[in-house]
Structures are given as C-alpha cells and as structure tokens.
C-alpha cells in the first residue's frame, strides 16, 4: 500500500473512532454538556486536558521553532508547562469546589455582579476566539498537507467532524474523544522521535539522547556538536540565548499565567468528581503533556543537526529523497545563487521575500526555480520550521505507516483543541449570557438546546475564520495568553485568596488589564510595526510578554479600588470560606 493510501486509512479510522465515541456519549442534560456530568475519572480528565491543550502548533510547530531559535525557545517549554503548577495549586481545586459550569459563573458569583460576569464573558470570548481562529486554520493546513486537499476543503472537513461530536456530545463527547486523540497524537510523536534519537546517538530515549554523544566518532555530545557547527556557519550557538533576560522573563511569565487563566483549560477541572481529584488530575495532565514537551527540544536539536549534516554543502543531486518531496510541497526551497550546484546553508534569509514564490520552471539540477530576489547572504536554502516534525519519519527512514501515523496525530492535535475551545465559547453564551443574564426562566432542556445552537454557530464562525483568515490571526494567537494573563487569571486568583477584593476592584482590574495589554499589542503589531523593537518597548518587554505587566496592573488596580470602596457582602465572604474547604465538593452545584 502506498503512503498516501495508508494516510487515508489511518486518518479515516481515527475519524470513525472519534464519531463512534461521540455517539456513545451523547449529552442528556446541561450538566453533561458543560461539565460531562461532573464524574470524569482524574486520569481520564488529565489525558483529555493534555489533548485539549496540545494543538497543531504544539504538535507540529513547537519543535521547529525551538530548532531555529535554540535556547530562546525555552520560553514556550517553561511557559506552557509551568502554568499547570499555578493551575493545580492556586485555581483548579477551588473552582471545582465552587462547582458550577463556567469561568464567568465563578467571577459573576464571587463578585456578586452581572457586570463582572459580562466582563468575564467578553474576556473569555476574546481570548478563545483569537485562539480558535488559529486552530481552524491549523486544521485546514494539516488536512491539506496530509490528505492533499485544498486548505478550505480541509477546514470544512474539520468543521464537520468537530460539529458532530461537539454539538452532539458537548463536554461529555469531547472528553472521551480527546482521550482517544491523546493516545493517537502521543504515539505519533514518540515513534519518530525514538528512532531519530537511536539514529543520531544510539540512545532510544530522546530526553537523554540529546545530551549523549553523537555516534560519528567525534566524541562530542549532540549539543556541543550543534553549537560548533552552527557557529562555523555564522549562526549563534544553539545553547546560548539572544533575547534580553527581562524579555525572556516577561514572555515566560505571560505564557505561564495565561495558561493558568485559559478558560478551555480551567473548565476541564469542573468535570472531575471532587476537589482532590481536580488537584491530582492537573498532575496527570501535566505529566501527559510533559511527555511531548520534554521530547520536543530533543527532536529540535536532532532535526537541526541532521538538517545541517545532510543539506549543507551537498549537491542537489545527492540530497536525500525527502528534500525533493518537501520541496514539491513548498516547505523547502533552494536558490543556487553562486551557480555551483551545491546547496550552501547558513545564517540570514536566503531570498526576498523570505517565503519562496515558485515559478513553473525546473532548473538544471532538477530544483524548482524561484521568482524571489536573491539576498546578499551566503544562505541558499529556505526551510519552513514545520519541516522539523513533518519530515522526521522520512529523515529517519521509517516506513510509510509511521508517516501516516504522524498525519493522524497532527489531525488529532488540531481537532481536539478546536473542539475544547468551541465548547467554552458556546457554554459562555448559552449559560452566562442567556440563562444567567438575559433569559433566566428557560428550562434545562431549552438551555441545552441553546447550548447546542451556540456550539453550532461557534463552529461555523470559527470555520469562516479558517477559510477567510483575517491577516492578523497567525500573529495574534500567541497573544491570547497575554490577554488571559492580564484579565481572567488575576480576577480568579484574587477571588479565592482574598476576601477584601470586591466587584468594583475586580471589574476595573480586568478592564485595565485587558485594555492595556490589547492596546500595547495592537500598537506595536498593527498600528506602528516599524517601532516594534527593543528600544521602543516599555522596559524592554516585547508585545508577547506584555501580558505580565497587564497582570500586575490588574492586581494593583483591584487592590486600590477595593480599598476605597465597600467590602464584599457577608454572604460572599462566606462563599470564599466555603470554596477554601475541600469537603462537600460534590454537593455544591445542586444550588444554582
């Protein structure tokens, strides 16, 4: 069977599995729909959280980014895992004890105010839609790359699948499909990683392999060799950073606090039976995530070393087979600037504009001819960062079924994240906006119907974003973290750990955090991109890291405003006392 047929087979089988699970776990009540009935086993929830969390970007792009930026890539590794410590220690158990359905539920009740609830809904929709728009595009790209269909067709297939299980099954359907998706994606990630590690170092454990010696007799470890080779070629050393320390600090902090404040992650901890389960479940979630996140930097270094070894100073004719394969998809390009037939790879952009524009012609060596203008640098090779994961199975000479497996894994990663995001958007609309604010008299059945409708609408809107991506989408996905850190995280944290912060403080704090962070990002990214460099930044902090400052402003504003306004009512202080104590957790949500 050809690799393409195997890919169809694997991806098709995985779809049958997901839809089968969705039909079996149909939601019968709003509680099923919003929080899967509240009876999910902590290990199951941990696995579902891990799949929810790891998107196509984690699966495909993260190792590629680290591969090209080396130590600076640590911000993603630290930021996207360290947030779980905050989540498990500071938020999840208390939100579970509170025991309703959504994040705005908590903010609305703790700050005894419909306004606070609405502000939280606005923050949530803002954060989740920026995130989901990127995911749907990701779904389309993954489908088009693996199934060889057009990106828009890919988005529509993805929408149809997500529609099936998110609208039918709600959180219940999503949870169990995500467990299946986690298994598919982690297996698909680890198999090539293990083989590449063996190929380069002889060590089957990638996490140890990238500290081991390369088996080429040089006696150097992978990282030592990589540092040396890259420096010879004019790059900076792989294990040295080039960003300023304060910026790395701020970006890591924004990603960490943002992770802990992301609604689609928080809501997962409403689905377990009790408080102690919420804590342990976050531990399992991070352990499952850590398997991929500790492998990614190893894959990054192996792939970079391998790339340099096999491509640099090689004639086009002698290049490995995968080079031509990925050249045909446009992810690799070569421009023979000095007309010597040998590919020189080095620092700097190979061409202008940086992404290749292919003409129909084929050059004398068989390479695709580009229309881009050559640049002055010696570098002749364009390499898309996604290659680092996508081409791994071929680089390691693995059989076709592994390539098919990676395809199924990429699709699983993209679908699971999109579904989780769509669910929190729909529940914030049907539950927080309709049931709790505009139409308090609707029955549970009607609310469930509205929840399904809202999910259906959200899928369609997200699909439109995928088909007609606003030019800014790709750039802003990372900023969802900054916005979550600056708006939702402090409101929840202060709601649990202080009794004195009141509705005025929380509302003004959230608004200041959101508006400050949003304006800073818009200013440097869209309004005045020419000023987007370290000497113009506030304290040298880039737009990616500004959410950290937004968070500090939010907290400061919340304390100052609360100090000069009335303390929260006595019932609210009693509510805070109540959520701090774990016993009685399962019973809390009967009231509401």
């Amino acid at each position: 069977m050809t690799t393409q047929m195997l890919t169809y087979l694997f991806v098709g089988l995985s779809f049958v599995l997901y839809i089968g699970i969705a039909i079996r776990s149909r939601a019968g009540s709003t509680k099923d729909f919003y929080v899967a009935g509240g009876g999910v086993h902590p290990v199951v929830n941990g696995m579902a959280t891990a799949a929810d969390w790891m998107s196509a970007a984690s699966f495909i792009s993260m190792a590629g980014i680290i591969s090209f930026v080396g130590r600076d890539g640590s911000v993603y590794l630290l930021g996207w895992t360290g947030g779980y410590v905050l989540l498990a220690l500071l938020l999840a158990p208390y939100l579970r004890k509170f025991g309703r359905f959504t994040v705005p539920d908590f903010i609305g009740e703790r700050y005894y105010s419909k306004t606070a609830r609405i502000v939280a809904v606005v923050c949530l929709i803002f954060v989740s839609f920026t995130y989901v728009a990127g995911q749907m595009r990701g779904v389309g790209i993954v489908f088009s790359r693996f199934l060889e269909v057009d990106v828009n067709t890919g988005v529509i297939i993805g929408m149809a699948i997500v529609f099936m299980y998110a609208v039918l099954g709600g959180m219940k359907g999503i949870t169990y499909t995500q467990v299946a998706q986690y298994c598919v994606l982690i297996f698909a990630y680890m198999v090539p990683a293990v083989f590449i590690s063996i190929m380069i170092t002889g060590n089957p454990i990638p996490q140890l392999g990238f500290g081991s010696e390369v088996i080429d007799g040089s006696g150097l470890s992978v990282l030592e060799k990589l540092d040396g080779v890259l420096m010879d070629m004019g790059f900076s050393a792989y294990t040295e950073g080039s960003k300023s320390t304060i910026d790395v600090f701020a970006i890591t902090a924004a990603l960490m606090f943002g992770t802990a404040g992301l609604p689609h992650v928080l809501v997962r901890f409403f689905t377990v039976p009790k408080v102690s389960d919420a804590r342990i479940s976050a531990g399992y979630a991070l352990a499952f995530i850590a398997i991929l996140y500790t492998t990614a930097p190893a894959v990054a270094s192996f792939a970079r070393l391998n790339l340099v070894d096999t491509v640099h100073n090689t004639t086009y004719e002698d290049a490995p087979e995968w080079f031509g394969h990925w050249e045909s998809t446009g992810l690799i390009a070569w421009q023979d600037k000095n007309a010597d037939g040998i590919m020189q790879y080095g620092a700097g952009a190979a061409m202008s504009p940086t992404k290749p524009i292919f003409s129909d012609q084929i050059g004398s060596h068989g390479q695709r001819i580009l229309e881009n203008a050559p640049t002055d640098s010696v570098n002749e090779v364009y390499i898309d960062r996604d290659i680092m994961v996508l081409a791994n199975p071929e680089i390691a000479n693995l059989p076709g079924w592994v390539i098919a497996l990676v395809a199924a894994g990429g699709v699983a990663a993209a679908l699971s994240t999109a579904a989780g995001l769509l669910l929190v958007i729909s529940s914030s609309i049907s539950h927080d906006l309709l049931k709790q604010t505009l139409m308090p008299n609707i029955s549970d059945k009607q609310e469930l119907l509205y929840a399904r409708l809202a999910a259906a609408v959200a899928v369609c809107v997200a699909g439109l974003f995928g088909i007609y991506p606003p030019a800014f989408v790709a750039q802003v996905v990372a900023f969802a973290f900054g916005l979550a850190a600056a708006s939702l995280f402090p409101a929840i944290l202060l709601g649990i750990f202080t009794k004195r912060v009141n509705k005025e403080g929380a509302i003004i704090g959230m608004l200041i955090g959101l508006i400050f962070t949003f304006s800073y990002i818009v200013f440097f990214k869209f309004y005045a991109p020419e000023l987007n460099s370290a000497e113009h930044w506030l304290l040298g902090i880039s737009p990616e890291g500004i959410g950290f400052i937004g968070m500090l402003l939010n907290i400061a504003a919340a304390f100052i405003v609360s100090k000069v306004t009335a303390a929260p009512p006595i019932e609210v202080q009693a509510l805070v006392d109540d959520i701090r104590i774990p016993s009685g957790a399962g019973i809390a949500q009967d009231h509401g």
């Binding site: 895992t81 779980y84 500290g211 470890s221 996140y293 104590i581 009685g584 399962g586």
Partner: protein, 116 residues
C-alpha cells in the same frame, strides 16, 4: 444568588448545614488555610527557582557546570524545570490531602453518585 452550601460561615453566623455532613469547626478551617498557604509558599518558591531562577536569571552562570552531557542551565530551561513542575503538583496533592485528613476536612467520602 449566593447560597453557600458548606457549613463554613463567617464568625458572626451560627454554623449550620443543610446536608448530612460533618460540621467543620472554624478553628480547623483556619488551621487548614494557614497550613495550606505555608505549603503553597514553599512549593511556589521551588517553582520560581527552577524556572525563572535556574532557567532564565542564572542560566548563564549554571551553564559552566555540566550535567549528563548538558550545560546545566540549558538543561533546566528545556528539561529539568518541567520534571520538577510535574513533581510539585503531585507533592502538593499528597501533602495537602494528608493535612486535610488530619483535620477531618477531606473529601474522601464524596462519590460522584452523591451529586445528581
């Protein structure tokens, strides 16, 4: 809208419960919260030191030491901190649960079937 469901109330209210569950004394609630904050402070200190400390602020200084073939700072930034994070969550879950059992305010008797 606000309807606290557990017996913990503020000082000037009588303690009562509309569920058949044990009443948590105000004293053990306070003891628990103090112990919890102390435990959190210790664990978050470690969280900060391994990530922002070893992985970012002191990374260059630590890089002079070698650890299983890695520069130590680099290892913390791309591997070590993540392992410590996982351990911290499990340590917290275990330690806090022990404290809860000692004070009799754990949630061991709650089963999902009790909801509904």
């Amino acid at each position: 809208m606000i309807e606290p469901s557990s017996p913990i109330r503020s000082e000037n209210q009588p303690q009562q419960s509309h569920h058949d569950q044990e009443i948590v004394s105000l004293e053990s609630a306070k003891t628990y919260w103090r112990a919890n904050l102390y435990l959190l402070a210790k664990l978050l200190f470690v969280w900060f030191v391994v990530s922002f400390g070893f992985g970012i602020l002191f990374v260059d200084w630590l890089d002079q030491y070698s650890f299983f073939g890695f520069k130590l700072g680099f290892w913390f930034a791309q591997q070590g901190a993540i392992y410590v994070f996982v351990a911290l969550i499990f340590i917290y879950a275990w330690r806090i649960h022990t404290i809860e059992r000692e004070l009799g305010i754990d949630d061991d008797s709650i089963r999902p079937s009790e909801e509904a």
